[in-house]
Amino acid sequence: MSEDKYVPESKLAQWFDSRLPLLTLSHHLRGYPTPKNLNYWWTFGGILTFFLIVQIVTGIILAMHYVAHVDLAFNSIEHIMRNVNYGWLIRYVHANGSSMFFLAVYIHIFRGLYYGSHKPPREMIWITGLIIYLLMMATAFMGYTLPWGQMSFWAATVVSNLFGAIPLIGENITAWLWGGYSLDNPTLNRFYSLHYLFPFLIFALVILHIWALHVPGNNNPIGIDVKKNSKETMSFHPYMVMKDLLAMLVFILIFFGFVFYAPNFLGHPDNYIPANPLVTPEHIVPEWYLLPFYAILRAIPSKLGGVIFMFASIFILILLPWLDSSKVRSAAFRPLYKKFYWVLVAMVILLGYLGAKPPEGIYVILARIATTYYFIHFLIILPVLGRYEKTDPLPTSIFDPVLDEPNIVDKFKKTAGEYEGEKVDTFK
């Protein structure tokens, strides 16, 4: 946090700020010192905030036209698509927006894993982030149910039945979730209610997430502590804001590429068939962003076991700051961790691929191998690496890796000297 005491210029602003210090808050946010070496992987926080707002705005608009009733929901979606002015655009933005939201959150999470952003003193940033991620999955899942197409219905049936695996009280819990003996109108209504609520909970948690971030400040690609308000940092506005905006623009280009040219690419055609409780589609798959967990669920040849491992694969991440005990944050200085990191990325992508495949033959075997590796990575490899890995020496300043490059200072002096028309030797 910037230490200087902020006093607004005008009397009116002073009057206001001394009663409700919003201007001080804004001053703090603008001047928030960010490390100068943040790369483009650090722009996804801003991109995620943008998508949260897009989803809330388009969602509120869709709610003006959507009807949460089993007989009307499907047709109200078609009504939005065909009759409502720009309804097609708003719905496609909302549907593809959720996919982009998850794409950005996965990049954001894996950036944290690579650079050790989950490590002390940033554990609470990591944990609030994971809670946001869990809420995102719940919100997306319930939102996917609302069109009441075949995929909506059966995805919701399968997921709510996960809770049926709990011994003794499982059936009572599913009946409670459904409000009946199967997925039906009461279920659709409560999912709609909660789908509307959860984004605002996410919004509140985002505030906590950023608050927790502003206590220690940003991690950075080198992973060493920077001195705040020194030459190593610069103010968030306008420097990081501009960088964030550029990255956001590129991301928005990709986003609207989907919206305008392939709006249904990430969806499933079966969801354009109205829900039918008598027929399960031949091949049901969740949305792409849940596929790795779905693959883990199916890899375990037991109902309760599959459910336990699936939830464990997410909750294990909460323990990550303590499992990954290496004192060095950034993978740049951890030669072994860097390799295992990319194996983990490959395994998660493989799990995602397998989750979309039918549960038979080689796919099941591969899913079991990848699931086993996933847990070994977190429970064995990380603690062992933390103890035995020989890390590279850490620089003392985030400038060192730049300044250590041979002759860089001379090169700079030469170029600058030519530009200024001065002799290299005399240029300071």
Binding site: T157, G179, Y181, I284, K303
Partner: protein, 170 residues
Amino acid sequence: MSNEIKSKRRDFLFTATYTIGAVGVGAAIWPLVDQMNPDSSVKALSTTEVDVSSVEPGKTITVLWRGKPIFIRRRTKSEIDEAAAVNLKDLKDPEKDSDRAKNPEWLVMVGVCTHLGCVPLGDRGDYKAWFCPCHGSHYDTSGRIRKGPAPTNLEIPKYEFVDNKTIKIG
């Protein structure tokens, strides 16, 4: 001495207040939780009568009961023999076929996979009976789980023959 008594009395008052408070909060929350359980109108739809006179041997009809599909299959002789001949030791969830089908010709089951609730497809899978496409569970001609992740056999609902051609489910 008197201070000690005072503090003990105060501790008691605090504990009692917390306890009553917790009970009160619990009582206030319960209606908010219980409202999500199946309501009276859902519970009221508890029985369905089905006319099965037009079902040929080897055919299955599917009817809806409590929002769930019910398979009513008129089994062929070979299917009945196959189901009866299975060694109970080979079963994950051992159950005799004669316990599952009171009248061996008619098999009445909830058509919901006991794994995660998909509707199995008929005449499919390793046992030429039911196969769940979602996660690959195979059921035999008696609806018993033989292979795959489902933990138990397809559920048999409460049902009875009202007369020769009518089954009452529920």
